[in-house]
């Protein structure tokens, strides 16, 4: 099996961040209803996600070459990538606090409060399903065009295995994953893919960047993101000095 790294890498990184967040929720729920029930809820959510991937993969295999479908997938990637990149820029520049898995764990424990078994099971199911939905979106969107499903699905599966291995070894919320750095890199890549897929069906023939379009777009978004972080940090520092 040949790995397409341009697909496998963003799928792995996206999945790693999302599975870590899902693990935090499942860990919190397991303290209320036990590991067996929490794991059952997780597997149920993963089964729904697997079915969703198979169904959407089948549909896209039929119409993957259609320009309107490429455009639609490009729009979904823009919606996903723009918000990830914006959040990463906000957190990198100090406009927002970094994501804290310990705080999320405490918030989930508080939400569980006096929740009964069914409610806690649903919290675990919903947590894994919603986090996994973002993995599904990136895997389907990146794999559909070139029909390179093995690379994307294997990468997402590997990220799940890594998360479970780290989680069971530590048995506490996973803090060391450099989430914001990953979201910044993946956000830049996904916005680049989205831009490319939106413009190609509309203006592919007039592409001035030719084969360099994708790597140049990724570099442009990443460098622009870094410039925004530096700009917001310096304007925040200037504002604080003015107040003093």
């Amino acid at each position: 099996m040949t790995i397409n790294w341009a697909i496998a890498l963003p799928c792995f990184l996206t999945a790693l961040v999302e599975w870590v967040e899902a693990f935090t929720i499942v860990l919190a729920v397991s303290l209320s209803i036990g590991w067996r029930s929490a794991a059952g809820a997780s597997f149920a959510a993963l089964a729904v996600l697997a079915a969703l991937t198979a169904a959407s993969g089948g549909v896209l295999q039929l119409g993957g070459a259609l320009p309107w479908l490429q455009f639609a997938i490009g729009v979904l990637l823009m919606l996903f990538g723009v918000r990830w990149l914006a959040k990463a820029v906000a957190r990198g520049s100090g406009l927002k606090n970094l994501h804290d898995e310990e705080a999320e764990f405490a918030a989930t424990r508080a939400e569980l409060g006096s929740a009964d078994h069914r409610a806690a099971w649903l919290i675990a199911f919903k947590g894994v399903f919603l986090e996994g939905l973002e993995v599904w979106l990136v895997v389907v969107a990146l794999c559909a065009r070139q029909q390179q499903w093995a690379s994307g699905i294997a990468a997402a599966g590997l990220a799940l295995a890594c998360t479970l291995a780290m989680g069971f070894a530590l048995k506490k919320p996973l803090q060391r994953v450099p989430e914001n750095l990953i979201k910044f890199v993946v956000g830049s890549m996904i916005v680049a893919f989205g831009t490319f897929w939106v413009l190609e069906p509309l203006a592919g023939a007039a592409n001035p960047l030719h084969d360099w379009a994708l790597p140049l777009l990724v570099a442009f978004y990443a460098l622009s993101g870094l410039a925004l972080i530096a700009l917001f940090r310096s304007s925040s520092q200037s504002a604080q000095e003015t107040i003093r």
């Binding site: 723009v82 906000a90 916005v191 509309l202 203006a203 978004y221 622009s224 993101g225």
Partner: protein, 56 residues
């Protein structure tokens, strides 16, 4: 259902920003300025990211 939709597309601000980016990019492409769309849309997208980072 709300959480499902929000996970896929983000909040209203995110949808509005992306709609604006797409309107400009697609608008240029469909108006016969296809090459310009490839150069302008990424710059507009960065502007959208900057706005969301400050106001998101």
């Amino acid at each position: 259902m709300k959480a499902f939709v929000k996970t896929l597309v983000g909040d209203l601000r995110n949808v509005a920003v992306v709609a604006g980016i797409l309107a400009i990019g697609a608008g240029l492409a469909l108006a016969g300025h296809a090459a310009a769309a490839w150069l302008v849309m990424p710059v507009v997208a960065v502007g959208g990211v900057a706005w969301l980072a400050r106001h998101g």
